[in-house]
Structure formats: C-alpha cells, structure tokens
Amino acid sequence: MADKLRTTQQLEALQNKYIGTGHADTTKFEWTSNIARDSYASYVGHPPLLQYMSLALGDASREETRVRCIEGMVRPVGPPPEVQD
C-alpha cells in the first residue's frame, strides 16, 4: 500500500513539474490542448520556424505571428467538453 502511495506521489510531483505528464484519466481535450500548446511554443521558440511561419502566413511582421501563436495557446482546441454528471 505504501508503495502505491509513493508512486502516486511521485507521479503527482512529475505532473506538477512537467506539465503534460499524463495520467490514467487524461481526456482527449487535455491531451490535444497539451500537444497544441507544445507546438505553438515550439513555433515561437525556434527562430527559423517562426520566420517560416510568418512568411507563409503573409503576416506583416514576425511579431504578429509570435503574438498569434502565443494567443493560440490560450484556448488551442476550443472549449472543454461539458462535464457529464
């Protein structure tokens, strides 16, 4: 029993430290938002990729693309599903 508790605690610590660490009940919404947010952060973080996106989208400036990507992270896959009681 103690072992199980420790495993749960370790998992919780991981989940706390590294967002996106999944668990048995990860929903599709959580999983897809997480991937989308990771992707957006990667677009913004890699300078060549941000420039590539900016050129491809025809944005006026790279700053616009950057803000658009981070803004995309706010709600990347639409609203969460209704909670079924």
């Binding site: 947010r37 060549p48 420039q51 700053e63 803000v67 609203p79």
Partner: protein, 1224 residues
C-alpha cells in the same frame, strides 16, 4: 547492419545564417571603455562587431559558432567591472554568461548554470531575457509558467558570482513579453505581460474565454531576502504584445510602455495610465480597418532626458517622448503629464533596433539586409505630434491620426550588412559553360527582394586602367632605397626596349634613370642600400645609388655575359643575385659591404651546372636578422625543383634537396607566410600545367615538405609576391587570377580568385598616394591595370538584382541565359487594384497617391489580396536597372507558386515555361483554386508569350518535366499532363500516401514525390500500362521543404525543422519496381500500414538549425568533386561532402570526438545532442566543429594531433583540404 555499409558525409557551412535573431549594444571591450560594440545572434553564431566612429562601417571582431540555438541575448554591467557581460539564453537549458577576451580574441565563459531541460520547450525559461538596468540580476522566462531570476554580483577577488536560481512560477500562465523596470537602486523589478488560462480550460461555455484579461505583472526581486515576489498586477489592453522600459531614478518616471494594437500606453504602479494612439498612413491605398502594432523599439537616454523609438509593422518609426510635470521651482517631478508621438522615418521592419551613442542607428531587419544609419537630427523639430491628451477610448479614427510617410529626413544610410535571409530558391549553375560555378539565389521579401548571384572571389577596386602603345612583357615597381615603404620607379620592359616611369601623383616617363633603355630587361630590382639592378639577356647593370645615376662617385657597374651564352633567368634580393645561363651554369653575386660594387662568387674549378633548361628560380627576401637568404630554389624543364644552399662556407651552391613535379615549374617564389604555427618559409611553385603548389622550406636543412596543391585552370600558373593588409600573399595568374593568403582568423591557406581578369605579368606597387599604400599593377596585353584587394575577410562576392515581390522560384530555358523569376506577395494590393484606386474619382485627390520609393515603404497591404508577377531577368546585365528585361503581372488574385521549364515531345521538343499558381489563397471568403499557365519563351529568351492556362481545384506547388510531358502535384495526387491547343491534357493519375505534394524529382521512369508532411514517396511510371504506381515511402513524417535525387535510389532532402537527410530505397524494392511488365503486380501489391508496400532506409541525418529551402547535387569549384549543396531560409549556404575513404571517416570521427571534449560548445549545449535535435545524427561528421581545430590553443592542438598519430600541420592540412577540394 555493419557500419561499413553506411554512407558518411562531412557537413560544412559555406556561409552562416544571416538572419539577426537579436542584437544588443554594450561596451564589451575592457580596453576601450568608451566605445560601444554590437553583439549579434545569428542562427547558431554569436558575433561581436564594432561600428567605426567616423565612417559608420561595420567590422566583425569575433564570430563564434555556439553549436546551439541562440534564443535571446542580453547585456549586463556589474558595477565596478570594466566591461559589459553577455548573457545568452540558448537551447541548452542553461544560462551562459560570457565576456569578451581581447587578448585571445574570443568569448570567454564566465558562468554556466543549468536551470531546465535542454531543447526549446514550453516551460523552459529562455524565451524572454531581461536584465536589471543596474546589472544586479537577470530574469529568464518561458512562454508558459516558469520564470527564474539569477542575481549577479562581484566578490572581493573581483570575480563575478552568480546566485542559485530564484524561481517564480505560476502554472497555466502565458507570458507575452518581459522587460526590466528601472527602479534606480531600489530592489530590482521586472514587468511581464501575462494571460492566465486556468478558468478557460475549465469552462465549457465561451464566457471565461471572452472575458480573459491580459495582465501587466510586476515581479520584485528582494535582494536582502533573496527571493522574488509577484508584487502588482493590472489589466491592460488585451492585444498588448510588447513592453519597453522607461528610465527611472533621476532620469525619468520609471514604469513601462505597453504596446498594443493601435495604441501605446504608459503604465506604472503609482501612476494613471496614459495612452496615445498609433497614427496611420494617409491615402487611398491604406486599409482603414487594418490594425497596426509596434514590432520593435529602443529606449535611449540623453543627458537629463530620454526618448523611445518604436517601429510599427509597416516600417514607420515613431519617436515617443515624455512631457513631465514640473514643480514650483521648474524642476521635473516624477509625474508624466503626457506622451508625445512623432513620425520619425520609415525603415525596413526590424527584429531589433539599437542606438549607438556615437550617433548611429542599427536596424536589424526581419528580412533582407540590415543597415546602419547616421542620425542627422533626433527629430526635435518635427511639428506634427500626437499626444496622450487627445486620446479617448471611443475616438476611433480621429482625423489627426493620419500622416504622410516621407523619405529619410532624420537619418542617412551609411552601411549595409548583407544577408540572404530569407532565402527561398537556390540554384548552382555554370551558365556560361566556363567551369565558373555560381550560386543563384533569391532573398528578401516584398519590395526589398532580390535575385542574388554569389560567386567565390575577392572584391577588387580598380584605380587605373590604361592602354599602352604596344604590349609590355614585364613590369616591375622598384623602391629607391631598401627601407623605403613606397616605390619610386615603375619599369616596363618591351621586346626591344625598356621604359622607366617615375611613380608619383602623376606617373610619367623619365629619361635620366641611368638604366639601359635599348634592351629587353628580364629582371629588375632594388639592390644594395640605395641601388638598383637591371638584368637583360646579355648582361646586367648595377647602379649603387639610383637617385644619382650620373654621379661619378657612384659609377654604374656593367657585367657582360660570357660569349655564346645568354642569361635565361635571374633572381635577386637586396643583397644577392643569381643568374642562370643558357649553358646551364649558375652564377652567384653579392653586393659588397659598402654597397658600391657587386662581386661574383668564385666557384673555382667545380662550376655548378644545372641539367635541363632553367625555367624559374627564387631566393626570396633576406630574412630579418640575417645577412643573406639561405637557399636558392631552382626549377628546370625536367620537372624538378632543387634547393641549393647559399651558405658562403663549403656548402655554397651545393644541392640540398630535390623534388620532382608533375610538370615543369613556370615560376617559383620563396615567400614566408603565416600559418597555424606562426611565420613559416614557403616555396610557392606555379606549374605549366596550371597547378599551384605550396611547400614548407625547412630553414635549416633546405628540405621541402608539407606540400599543398591546387589546380587553378588549364593555363600556366605565374606567381607574383604581393602584400595585402601588410601581410605577405601570393598573386597567382593562370586562366584566372587567384590570391593565396592565410585566413585572417584560422591562418589556414586560402586560395581565392579575384573578381578581375587574368594577367600576363603583375607586380606589387606601393605608391603611398591617397592612402592606397598597397596596390598591384598587372599587364593584360597592351593594357596596364592598377588595382587593390582590400578585404580578405569575406571570400564571397554578392551581386544583387532588385525584384518587385517576394521571389518564390526561378528557372532558366536551357538555350538562353535569362532567368524567369516568379514572385508573389500575400496580403498586398495588386498593381491593378492600386491603379484602380488611384484613378477612382470618388476619393479625395489628395489621398490618391502612392508612397515611394517602394523599397523603403513597401507595397500597400490589404488582407486577402495577392500581388504577383513573373519577371525575366538577365543575370549578366551590367547595371541593376537593365537586369529586368520583361515582366508580366498576374491578375484575379492569382499568386505564382512554382515554375519549371518543360520540353514537350508533342511540340517537337520545344521548351515552355510553366507556372503553377494559386488563386484566392487564404482570402477567407472564396475557395482557393489553382492554375497552370503556359508561356512560350521567345528567342532570344527575353520575352514570354502567354499561351493558355488550365484550372485545377487546388493551388499547384510542384511541376516537373517528365519524359517529354509534365508531371505535377495537385493536393496529394500526382498527374501526368501533355500540352494541348487550349489546355493541358490529362494522361495519367495516381494518389500518393501524403497530404500535399510540394516537390518532385525524376530519373528514368521513377518520380520521387516530396510531401508537405509525409516525407518522400517513390513512384514508378509504367509506360506500357500508362500507370503511376507508388511503391516505397518513408517511416518518419518529414515535413519536406526541399529534396533532390542523389542517384537512382537515394534522395536527399531537408525538412521544416532544420534537418538534412538522405534516404534510400531498398535494392529489392527498387529492382522489383523496374521489372518490365510488373505494373499489374505492383499495383496490386499489399499495402503496408496504410502506405506503400515498401519503406525507405535512412542513411544520413543531421540537424543544421536553418530550414533548408533548396538542395542540389553539384560541383562548386572547377575540377571539384560533386557535393550535396543546401541553402537555408535564414541565408545559410552549406555542403555535405561524401567521404570516399574509410580511413578518413575514422580520422574525422576521432577528431570530432576530441573536439567535443576539448572545445565544448560555448553556450553549454552538448554538441552531439544538438546535431541530434530531432533525430539521432547519422552518417554525418560536423566539419564546422572540426574546423574549430584551427583556432584551438597550441597545446590542445598538439595533444589532439598526438592522439591521432599525426603532426599538427598534417591535421590542419587534412581539415583544410576537406573544404578546399570541393568548395571555398
């Protein structure tokens, strides 16, 4: 699989990425405490650059590859230290603190502290870096959640200390911007723009999303308690994207400027917000609904004042100044009365703007070249101003928010920093068929785009080019005295006479020179202390004092050749003279101690004779601190060179060593040059076969060793010693003129062609006039040219042809030299719409104008519109204006996306230009469509004739000539089309297992399809059945950006994440696909995991950081081996050189291993991990890392060389030759 079956490539950068990610200004050089330098982060390089105080020219002090992605840089001055530190955030998950070490000319790492995982991730800090203006601490922030603060300090021993990280994390919070707040010497403060999405993630309705707020948050670093607290948060305009620091303490009110769409507002925790609207351009071509955003800016402090310059996204720069409230005594208080905004000037859209205190503005452009401007005024006289007082939330477009942009009024362009970024399409081609390979590439966006022609060479400045009445054979420039630093005479030798010119502000012929004018001089030099030597075929004359030719105290001495002999060759320095006679005798003379006479060395009975006819010989100059040059190096027509001792003892004219050659030596020069070990004496040999050799001459034994050879072209190689930037160099004239010199940084031997014609004879000319001390004079037939080579830092010459819109591709008709360049700009008004709007009578005539010139102001923007054209460009045009010879505008919102020259068999093999387009792409309202336009190329290739266009239901991204017909991709379907009278006619169709075809390549009846997202797929065309059958695809989803076939089975490509890879089709699958009559079998073969029946093998994989946009298998230098050439989006040019020899692979991989350990990357990224960023590096050796060997300290070099069982020179030669064999 055994390792021996693998393919190995040596990856090298020819030109590093040009895109400037970040630039900072600071005083990084401790010995120059008043001078500011620029630190630039470009791709994976960090460089320190100086801007010349007077001229504004830009020069690089040091540039280093950090083998990591630089995310951000910041500067920091810890009080009491002599220079600024550089703080680098990279993908290593570590903070790197660097300083510049002047003595070693490189960056020195002061601290390296780990705070997170490596790689660029959502929660690893480093996306934003802000440093306290007083240099006490620095904050790293990630896009989401994490922020970490490091406190920097100085201890008793003057060492810089760094604290443990202070974290201040808030989960589910996104950071949009970060800046430090100036609090003077109170506890440091950082401001961030944040959005919390906790509620949004929980709320199934749209309520929380619609009510989300962007907060301006202050974080205070408590230096006493050593922790960080979130101190203050206040909602700001939701569109806010940037923060700028406002000076505090005695300089200003402190606080920050928050930039949002259409507004800039001043925020401070104890102050009312003040907002000023961003005005917009006036005119009919401006979209009134388009919102403008600030993209870059800089704050600048003056004595007792400050201002900010901010750039909007169409390039207009605004000056923001603060009007402060004054107290009863007229002193400024901390309260801001209003903000004032003035339109300053228009610049290219920038990533970073910096101001240098000496009066320069540095604009690091987002796309294309970057610039340095000189400030003419600070814009204090600009009258039109917008203030925060007139701002109200409701007043949307008050009339006064318009202005008219103007050409530069307040600044003047002084320097351009070239950059090929963004590079779209690149072709390496030898258009003229002269084995002169040039790189044709496109760069820039919008109205600042260009077609660039890049060639390997050094730029030459011509001073004089004059025709002489007849063609001279030789030219020499002779100084009056040994110590003179400039030349006095220029001597021209014709077939029957000699002409002497006095060098001066006006070079003219003189008669009273004391030399013989009636002979054909074969050698001429300064000799003795003030004397001069003239050698002709039957004798020589020595003038003890060249300034007094008629003075009887200094009589000229004549020496006559023994009968029935002539002088073949002569060589001299100021002390010695050697003559080679037609009889094979070798005579040696020396100048007497008082310089009055010249004496022959008595060889006694055993006269030295040379077998064969002497072709060339040299002694070199007398080495510093010695009496005479120790060796004579002589080459004869039996294809040997011999070294004779000139030691006056027993060894005089004794042969020391002999070296056989592949061809007789045309010219020999002994010239010391720098190399990795210091000054070394080299024997330079030019052969009749056109090969140039450089061998080390042992100063003691006279042995020749460490030979380097290069082929210059199929003409005899003539050598002439010169100096460039006070360093000795060798001018090599063959089919082209080359300069051999040590690399300024690595001291490695460089051989670079001059961008000039070839010469029959050349000489150094030291004039001392107009600051041009070092020039060269060359003879080209009857023409005499005086020229200089100034810059040997860059061996790449770039020529630009300006274009109209962002280039997307280009191609050339095989018969003509003209390129057709397709260009298109998204969100831009088309030329036709511009004309319509300007002609529209219903608009006020004052508004009907177009701002120009376009390269400064760009094209008018409008969402959903496309502007596109096809231009025919002459790459060999003399001037930029004549280069564009023909232009066609595309209409109906079409945009050209790809082009190809396709020969059609049914048109008797005539080649047509085909352009794939997209219509209404991303317009929002209409569905996108595609077209293929067909143009006939009219001889001589300068004009195009439109034939017809065929509609498709998707934009066309890839076209390919295929067996006299056209192969093309529409979505994920591959088609074969033939040319019909009114449209293209469909012949064959196949579905590929991808999403969107973006590139095509072919060999035989195989077509390789590059997919947007699903790597490459091999398709075979079965002629008998008229079927296209995909038979092999990849296991990994590579987002292919460019690809090419290396051989029938292998494909090299690049992907969107910055990898270069090579995949190969398994032999069995490849053979099976080509079996005749296998069409039915193949098309019914069982598909594997939803794809094709077979999978490709990965051979080579390497992360190169930049996104490859073109790959090509080509040679780059005459006679060079074929390499895989790639060009990247950010302007990098690189090559992959295949290894031929197994031993070389082992050598270089061991060397790479040693360098990884002995010279770890500067920013703390593990090199192997870096090159394996997305996938483990495979079959690649990093040449850029290997070349770091040149700049290692001597002891490390020796240690590594010992481990490799080689000498340092051998290792350097091997590394050097890997590059010079195939490229430059």
């Amino acid at each position: 699989m055994s390792i021996t079956s693998n393919m190995f490539m040596y990856s090298l950068t020819l030109q590093p990425a040009g895109m400037i990610t970040q630039a900072i200004v600071g005083k990084f050089v401790a010995s120059k405490p008043k001078e500011e330098q620029l630190v630039l982060a470009q791709g994976e390089r960090l460089s320190l650059n100086a801007v010349h105080r007077k001229s504004g020219t830009f020069s690089t002090l040091v540039s280093q590859d950090v083998f990591g992605i630089i995310r951000n840089v910041s500067s920091c001055r810890i009080p009491g230290t002599p220079s600024d530190l550089i703080i680098v955030a990279s993908d290593s998950g570590r903070i790197t603190v660097l300083k510049y070490d002047e003595d070693k000319v490189r960056f020195e790492r002061v601290h390296l502290e780990t705070f997170g995982k490596s790689g660029i991730r959502r929660t690893v800090p480093g996306q934003y870096v802000a440093t306290d203006p007083r240099g006490r601490c620095t904050m790293f922030a990630s896009v989401e959640k994490n922020k970490v603060v490091y406190i920097l300090n100085r201890n008793q021993e003057q060492q810089i200390t760094i604290s443990s990280p202070q974290e201040v994390n808030k989960a589910q919070t996104l950071t949009f911007a970060l800046c430090a707040v100036d609090t003077n010497f109170q506890n440091p403060l950082f401001a961030a723009l944040e959005v919390d999405y906790t509620d949004i993630d929980q709320d199934p309705s749209d309520n929380s999303y619609n009510e989300r707020e962007k907060m301006l948050v202050y974080y205070r670093v408590d230096l006493g308690l050593n922790h960080v607290v979130r101190e203050w948060a206040d909602p700001v305009d939701y569109s806010a994207n940037l923060l700028f620091q406002v000076p505090g303490g005695a300089d200003g009110p402190s606080g920050v400027l928050v930039c949002a769409e259409n507004s800039i507002s001043y925020r401070s925790s104890g102050h009312d917000p003040l907002t000023v609207r961003i005005p917009r351009r006036r005119g009919a071509l401006e979209d009134p609904n388009r919102k403008r955003r600030i993209v870059a800016g800089v704050m600048h402090r003056l004595k007792g004042d400050f201002f900010l310059l901010m750039q909007a996204d169409d390039g207009d720069l605004f000056k923001v100044s603060f009007v402060m409230a004054e107290d009863d005594h007229g002193r400024k208080t901390g309260e801001v009365t209003r903000l004032e905004l003035r339109y300053f000037d228009t610049f290219p859209v920038a990533t970073t703007i910096s101001i240098l205190k000496v009066g320069y503005l540095f604009v690091a452009s987002e796309n294309g070249d970057s610039y340095i401007y000189r400030f003419l005024t600070l814009g204090n006289d600009i009258e039109q101003a917008w203030t925060s007082e007139t701002y109200s939330e409701e007043a949307d477009m008050t009339p006064q928010t318009y202005y008219q942009p103007h050409e530069f009024e307040n600044v003047q362009l002084v320097h351009t920093i070239p950059s090929l970024n963004p590079q779209k399409k690149t072709i390496v081609e030898d258009v003229e068929g002269k084995d002169d390979w040039k790189i044709y590439t496109t760069s820039g966006t919008g109205a600042r785009s260009a077609l660039n022609i890049i060639s390997h060479g050094l730029e030459v400045t011509t001073h004089t080019q004059a025709a002489l009445p007849s063609a001279p054979l030789y030219v020499w420039c002779v100084a009056g005295a040994r110590e003179d630093d400039h030349d006095k005479y220029m001597v021209l030798s014709f077939s029957d006479l000699t002409m002497v010119l006095a060098v001066g502000s006006e070079t003219r012929e003189i008669q009273d020179h004391g030399l013989r004018a009636d002979v054909c001089t074969i050698h001429m030099a300064q000799m003795g202390d003030y004397g001069m030597l003239q050698v002709w075929d039957r004798g020589f004359r020595y003038l003890p004092d060249s300034s007094k030719p008629d003075d009887s105290n200094y009589p000229a001495e004549d020496w006559k050749c023994p009968p029935h002999r002539t002088i073949l060759k002569a060589t001299s320095n100021h002390q010695q003279l050697c003559l080679a006679l037609s009889s094979g005798e070798l005579l040696y003379f020396e100048v007497s101690e008082n310089s009055m006479h010249i004496q022959e060395y008595d060889q006694g009975d055993d006269q030295v004779t040379v077998s064969g006819v002497v072709q060339s010989m040299s002694m070199g100059q007398v080495p510093a601190g010695r009496q005479r040059a120790p060796f004579l190096v002589l080459g004869s027509d039996d294809s040997t060179i011999r070294v004779y001792s000139l030691d006056p003892g027993d060894e005089m004219l004794k042969s020391q060593s002999i070296q056989s050659l592949t061809s007789p030596p045309r010219s020999i020069e002994v010239l010391p040059m720098e190399d990795g070990t210091g000054m070394t004496t080299f024997v330079h040999v030019g052969l009749y076969s056109g090969v140039y050799l450089r061998a080390v001459l042992d100063d003691v034994t006279g042995e020749l060793g460490d030979v380097r050879s290069r082929f210059l072209g199929a003409e005899e190689a003539k050598l002439f010693p010169v100096t460039v930037n006070d360093k000795p160099a060798m001018l090599c004239c063959g089919a082209r003129t080359f300069l051999s010199y040590p690399h300024p940084d690595t001291k490695e031997m460089m051989l670079t062609p001059l961008d000039y014609h070839s010469f029959g004879y050349a000489s150094m000319l030291r004039t001392g006039l107009a600051g041009q001390l070092e020039s060269m004079v060359g003879l080209r037939g009857a023409e005499i040219c005086v020229f200089t080579v100034r810059d040997i830092d860059s061996n790449i010459i770039r020529k630009n042809i300006p274009l109209k819109h962002t280039p997307r591709g280009f191609c050339r008709h095989p018969d003509f030299r003209y390129y057709s360049v397709i260009q298109s700009d998204p969100n831009t008004l088309s030329q036709r719409t511009i004309k319509q709007l300007l002609a529209d009578e219903s608009i006020d005539s004052k508004d009907r104008y177009q701002v120009g010139p376009n390269h400064q102001f760009g094209w008018p923007r409008a969402n959903g519109h496309w502007s596109s054209c096809i231009q025919v460009v002459d790459p060999q045009a003399e001037s930029e204006e004549d280069a564009v010879v023909y232009s066609i505008e595309l209409e109906d919102n079409e945009a050209a996306l790809c082009c190809e020259m396709v020969p059609f068999e049914n048109q008797d093999g005539e080649t047509f230009l085909l352009v794939g387009t997209g219509q209404h792409m991303r317009s929002g309202t209409q569905t996108p469509k595609g077209y293929v336009h067909v143009y006939r190329v009219l001889a001589p290739g300068r004009e195009l004739e439109f034939i017809h266009k065929t509609a498709f239901d998707q934009p066309i991204f890839a076209l390919l000539p295929f067996q006299g017909r056209l192969a093309m991709g529409v979505g994920n379907e591959l088609f074969i089309y033939d040319l019909g009278q009114k449209a293209l006619l469909r012949k064959c169709r196949a579905k590929t297992p991808g999403v969107q075809i973006v590139s095509l390549a072919t060999q035989g009846s195989r077509i390789v399809v590059g997919d947007l997202q699903e790597s490459v797929c091999y398709v075979v065309y079965k002629h008998a059945e008229n079927k296209l059958i995909p038979f092999a695809d990849d296991t990994v989803a590579r987002w292919t950006t460019a690809m090419t076939m290396l051989d029938y089975d292998s494909v090299a490509g690049g992907d969107k994440f910055g990898n270069v890879w090579i995949v190969r089709c398994p032999k069995a699958a490849s053979d099976e696909s080509d079996e005749p009559g296998a069409g039915n079998f193949l098309s019914h073969e069982k598909s594997y995991l939803g794809g094709t029946p077979h999978r490709l093998d990965l051979l080579v994989h390497n992360f190169v950081q930049d996104i490859p946009t073109s790959v090509q298998k080509t040679t780059l230098v005459p006679g060079g081996q074929e390499v895989l050439f790639w060009a990247g989006l950010q302007g990098s040019l690189g090559i992959f050189v295949p290894f031929v020899d197994r031993e070389d692979v082992e050598f270089f991989s061991t060397l790479e291993g040693h360098l990884r350990a002995d010279d770890p990357p500067l920013a703390g990224r593990d090199h192997l991990m870096y090159r394996s960023y997305y996938m483990p590096v495979k079959g690649t050796i990093d040449g850029d890392l290997c070349e770091r060997y040149f700049v290692l300290p001597r002891d490390k070099k020796e240690r590594i060389a010992a481990e490799l069982d080689r000498s340092v020179r051998e290792v350097e030669k091997k590394i050097g030759e890997m590059r010079t064999r195939v490229a430059f």
